[in-house]
Amino acid sequence: MSTDTLVRRPYTPKEAVARLRRGDLGAWPVVGGLIAIAAVFGTLNEHFLSAENLTNLALQMAATGTISLGIIMVLLLGEIDLSAGSVSGLCAVVMTILYVKQSWNPVAAIALALAAAAAIGLLHGLMHTRLRMPSFVVTLAGLIGWQGLLLYLLGQGGTINLPFDGFVSKLSDTWLPSWLAWTLVAALTAGWAASAVIVRRARRAADLPVPAAYLTWLRVAGLGLALAGAVTILSADRGVPLLLVVFGALVIVLDLVLRHTVFGRWTYAVGGNAEAARRAGIDVTRIRVLAFVLAATLAGFGGVLAASRLSAVNQASGGSDILLMAIAAAVIGGTSLFGGRGRPYAALLGILVIQSITNGMLLLNVDSSVRYMVTAAVLALAVAIDSLARKGSAR
């Protein structure tokens, strides 16, 4: 075979336009948006880009970002989970009651709360697949119902505090020592570079095209620089928060699962064309149920992280704009509401966008009424872009 067939050529302008039409913009609009946000809020308030505030931003991101990862699982199937906020709050309350009131071991309390969340997801999934209820209705009922259960469990008091020096609170008040943070950066970058080299070798050996070498190295260098930049900034304050590492690990694991396992492949297939998936012998029902279980479990875990940060649970846990933010994060990051398209990294970028906007407005003392409207407008914009892209690809 001649060498020129072995290097995958970059897209021609025509193909690039076709990709844009399909809404396959990659991460660039989001990165552009982030720069714009940084510029706007940075000039309006000198505190916005300070190390302390960026560290707070990282802490704020983790909980809602984790919920958003779950939302992505159902969005990939073209379904929706409106109950994620309530389930996160309920799960946090269950964990807190077991841990504080019943004096359980905190890890066991978290595990049982997550199991409860998984059971809720299973129920949603079965109602959707067996009773053929639209996911929108199932999880809308869940939104109200699970919040009702949360209020019932909290009872009259309405607030339960977590011990400040306990395991759960410590989760969000643990900071990586500098050496560990830098080791992590080096390990991640080296790991990615190594896997890139191995894949290139294997593809060459199998006579398959490889992307141009400079592109691969540019990406590795970009990742390394981004990680190093983040660690440098965070180190100027309290260091890299454990919470951010936990969220980052979830993103990476979920992305690997979706891209490299049969379950991930079938999830995209069901989201793209459920009938085709069914005819190919895929158990569509099982994939759907699993997606709802994952969504609820991740929502539950996000609730635990949120409780850890607040060191308490109360009647507002999992309420207000958390659900909206989680959905917005997924969609802003490029996950399609129509199913079949999106990646977990989307949640990372999307939550960065929506949380910076919220954080910036909080710094500027913008009233929550305005904040809600702005968040909703950003979500509407992201959905509009998604819908237009879909219209473009359906032509």
Partner: protein, 242 residues
């Protein structure tokens, strides 16, 4: 090789198939033609396990078989390309070819193995797609049809059934797909093509089987038959030779 004898199927008051027989041999392309409602799809569904006929027998290599589910059909080496192709537009060509039968180890996908095998398969069928890692949404109609047909070959079938493979295609792409069908014949597969287009039928088939109102209404060697004779059998202008 595959032989259908005396198959009947009724839907309520409608007799969709009435004592229909059909023989399919390795290395032969058979065209199944007939007016709308003649029973073509029902016959295909009986072969691919989508329905079970009321009476009649299906034999493979002389022994009687039961095709009750799509899995039974698959196990017997029957592979069907439906008219709506059933591709996932968001997945790339490799993923579509192996959908549901992915190479895997501990449920981790064998990307390279599949991509390599996919490339080799498409090359052997002379299907030209520049980058098989792009989503199917970016391919032309002819390329999609080719992917759907190539996909039918993944499970190493003995019989490939194609429902209206050229209905949605332009002239050039139709020619490509007809070439592809000839290549299936060269591979020694039995091929059954449903088509409305008699020009395509004459171009690609060895034998034409006509259904009319759920009954056999004629069988012709393509090379020795005029288009008028086939049309007459389809419309019922002559009685069939049996």
């Amino acid at each position: 090789m595959f032989s259908v004898t005396g198959i009947s199927k009724t839907y309520g008051a409608v007799q969709a198939l009435d004592q229909v027989s059909l023989d399919l041999r390795a290395g032969e392309v058979v065209a199944l033609v007939g007016d709308n409602g003649a029973g073509k799809s029902t016959l295909v569904k009986a072969l691919s396990g989508a329905i079970t006929p009321d009476t009649g027998a299906i034999t493979v290599d002389g022994s009687r078989v039961r095709i009750a589910t799509p899995r039974d059909a698959q196990a017997l080496g029957v592979s069907t390309v439906y008219q709506d192709l059933a591709l996932c537009e968001n997945l790339d060509v490799v993923a579509n070819l192996y959908l549901g039968s992915e190479h895997r180890r501990w449920s981790v996908l064998g990307h390279l193995r599949m991509e390599r095998a996919a490339r080799d398969l498409l090359t052997s069928l002379d299907v030209r797609i520049r980058d098989i890692r792009v989503p199917v949404a970016m391919l032309s109609g002819g390329q999609r049809q080719s992917v759907a047909i190539a996909r039918a070959l993944i499970g190493r079938p003995r019989l490939v059934i194609l429902d209206e493979p050229t209905a949605a295609l332009g002239v050039e792409q139709t020619a490509q797909v007809l070439d592809l069908i000839r290549r299936l014949r060269e591979r020694g597969l039995a091929v059954l093509v449903i088509s409305h287009n008699l020009a395509d039928v004459r171009a690609v088939s060895d034998r034409v089987v006509v259904l009319r109102l759920g009954r056999n209404a004629g069988e012709f060697r393509t090379a020795a038959t005029s288009q008028e004779a086939i049309v007459a059998a389809i419309t019922g202008a002559i009685t069939h030779e049996h």
